[in-house]
């Protein structure tokens, strides 16, 4: 008796016993002659050959292969229907050293998960997709798949798939080959011995590409489903070769495996104690002046057209209030109002903690245009301040019980160099009239809010001009 050595046996990447399976733990749950078992063997063998068992994470789909984790002795993540490639992308990005396989069927990948596979491929995610195409929804009992052949009957195409009702079989490799990013796309089949060996090479290649960090690889495997097709396993194998492969031509649709360089590795993360600084979180203490009196409670509404610097005016007020040691809040209008051209914000500056950041009864109204004046004047608290952008308020913009200061602030800004500086002219007037905030707080705020030197200079002049306008009782 000569000595024999084992040349092909169960891959190490399979569990010896399928303990996660409830019963019959010595065999798979797949039907006799099912292509999944063969694909599993090809994948497991490739994992063994590449020596990546510990690093491999298998993402299984919804479909017959949902229980891939019964068999593969690798890290396992089970995903929602159609989302395996999205899950795989995030696993890979979280763990760049891992090898992530997204194992998906035709319903999962080519129907409900079309967006996910297309975009994973288009981003060139460094994952490997094993796409098992058996032209049918098998697990749910034989409904039409996006890859069901024309004329092929299924429980939802009882008279056969009709292109006028269900459209044509979807060609995933051809579709993805229209994208720039994928490095490897091949369609193989399990229709005979030779085809199976070709599939083995393609699977190994697709996984190897990821190990080399080349990018997105997908192997589409035409695979038999004898049970749903109602064929015996051998007939089903022939049908793959003779019928499916006619509709889905085998071949390489993209191969940049040789020319593609490895994807750039992510930069190493910063030291943890660097993170607050990188987030712009400032340490140290603020300039703190007095709180402006224990009872101070400024409820300011700023309103005008978009582009007049309404939000920025409010932001300077809030920032300065913070420097002045006050409690502050700033609440913008956003949304349709903003988009249709008007804008307003609510600013509160107070000694006590601020309850509502909404200002429904302002004691200061900064109205940069006439509609804002008309809209908000009735809400101003008696004794409050109203700053209006114009010499004389309109007739319905007059109230005897509030203090109104009207100046052509925008025009003054324009004379200074830019009409948009009108907001700071108005702020200057407000500060001069009310003494609401100390100068140094406003200056500090301006420096934080305004990034450009040119604007900083202009805004400072605008503030001064606004102050002068009030001090001198008329426009200079």
């Amino acid at each position: 008796m000569p000595e024999y050595t084992v040349i092909h046996e169960k891959a190490r990447s399979f569990y010896d016993l399928y303990e996660r399976k409830a019963e019959l733990q010595h065999q798979t749950h797949y039907c006799p002659g099912c292509g999944h078992g063969i694909v599993h063997k090809l994948v497991a063998e490739a994992i063994d050959e590449l020596g990546i068992q510990d690093r491999t994470i298998l993402v299984t789909p919804v479909g017959c292969s949902v229980f891939g984790y019964y068999y593969f002795d690798v890290g396992n993540v089970q995903a929602a229907h159609g989302r395996a490639s999205a899950v795989a992308c995030a696993v890979k990005r979280a763990l760049p050293e891992s090898v992530v396989l997204s194992y998906q069927g035709d319903g999962d990948l080519a129907a409900i998960g079309t967006a996910e596979i297309l975009h994973a491929a288009n981003r060139g995610e460094n994952i490997t997709v094993i796409f098992v195409n058996n032209a049918i929804y098998a697990m749910t009992g034989g409904q039409m798949a996006p890859t069901t052949l024309l004329g092929q009957s299924s429980t939802t195409t009882p008279s056969g798939r009709n292109e006028w009702n269900e459209g044509y079989p979807l060609h995933v490799c051809e579709l993805l080959a229209a994208l720039e990013a994928p490095v490897y796309l091949e369609r193989v089949a399990l229709g005979n011995n030779k085809q199976i060996m070709g599939a083995a090479r393609a699977v190994r290649r697709a996984i190897g590409n990821q190990v080399k960090s080349l990018g997105f690889s997908l192997v589409e495997i035409l695979s038999p489903c004898p049970t749903i097709w109602r064929k015996d396993p051998v007939e089903a194998q022939h049908w793959v070769r003779d019928e499916m492969a006619k509709v889905f031509p085998l071949g390489v649709f993209r191969d940049r495996g040789t020319e593609a360089g490895a994807r750039p590795a992510a930069a190493p993360p910063p030291a943890l104690d660097e993170v607050p600084r990188l987030l712009g979180i400032v340490n140290g203490s603020r300039l703190m002046t007095d709180r402006g009196g224990a009872t101070v409670d400024w409820r300011i509404k700023v309103a005008g057209f978009g582009g007049q610097g309404v939000l920025m005016l409010g932001e300077v007020l809030a920032e300065a209030g913070l420097d002045a040691g006050m409690e502050v809040s700033w609440l913008p209008s956003y949304g349709p109002e903003m988009r249709s051209g008007t804008s307003n914000c609510h600013v509160r500056l107070a000694a006590a903690p601020i309850d509502s950041p909404l200002v429904s009864r302002p004691n200061v109204l900064l109205a940069l245009n006439q509609p804002s004046l008309e809209k908000f004047l009735p809400t101003v608290e008696p004794g409050g301040w109203v700053f209006y952008n114009g010499q004389t308020p309109p007739r319905n913009g007059v109230r005897a019980d509030v203090r109104v200061i009207g100046r052509p602030f925008t025009q003054v800004g324009d004379e200074l160099g830019d009409a948009r500086a009108g907001n700071m002219v108005m702020l200057g007037a407000l500060l001069e009239a009310t003494g609401l905030l100390p100068d140094e707080a406003v200056e500090g705020a301006l420096k934080r809010v305004v990034k450009s030197e040119r604007w900083l200079e202009l805004d400072r002049r605008a503030l001064a001009r606004g102050r002068a306008a009030v001090r001198e009782g008329s426009l200079p």
């Binding site: 000569p2 092909h8 169960k10 065999q27 798979t28 006799p32 999944h36 063997k41 011995n193 004898p226």
Partner: protein, 75 residues
């Protein structure tokens, strides 16, 4: 004494589901489905005990991970 076969297969009758793909695939046609049933109710594959070339084709044709082990004469 005849020349010994180059190859040999070890078959797991209990893991086998009797699909017959290996029988179809085997080039020297030395596999067949047994007349009897295994515990799962399938006719499992069996080896004719002669003529295996150790080509390994049955291994790849078989959907069950551990149903077939292929051996070859040590070089």
């Amino acid at each position: 004494m005849e020349k010994p076969d180059r190859g040999m297969v070890r078959l797991s009758a209990e893991e086998c589901k009797g699909c017959g793909l290996c029988v179809e695939a085997c080039p020297p046609k030395v596999l067949r489905l047994a007349d009897g049933l295994n515990r799962s109710g399938y006719h499992p594959v069996c080896y004719l005990n002669r003529g295996c070339t150790g080509c390994g084709i049955c291994f790849y044709a078989c959907p069950e991970p551990g149903a077939i082990v292929v051996l070859r004469v040590a070089a």
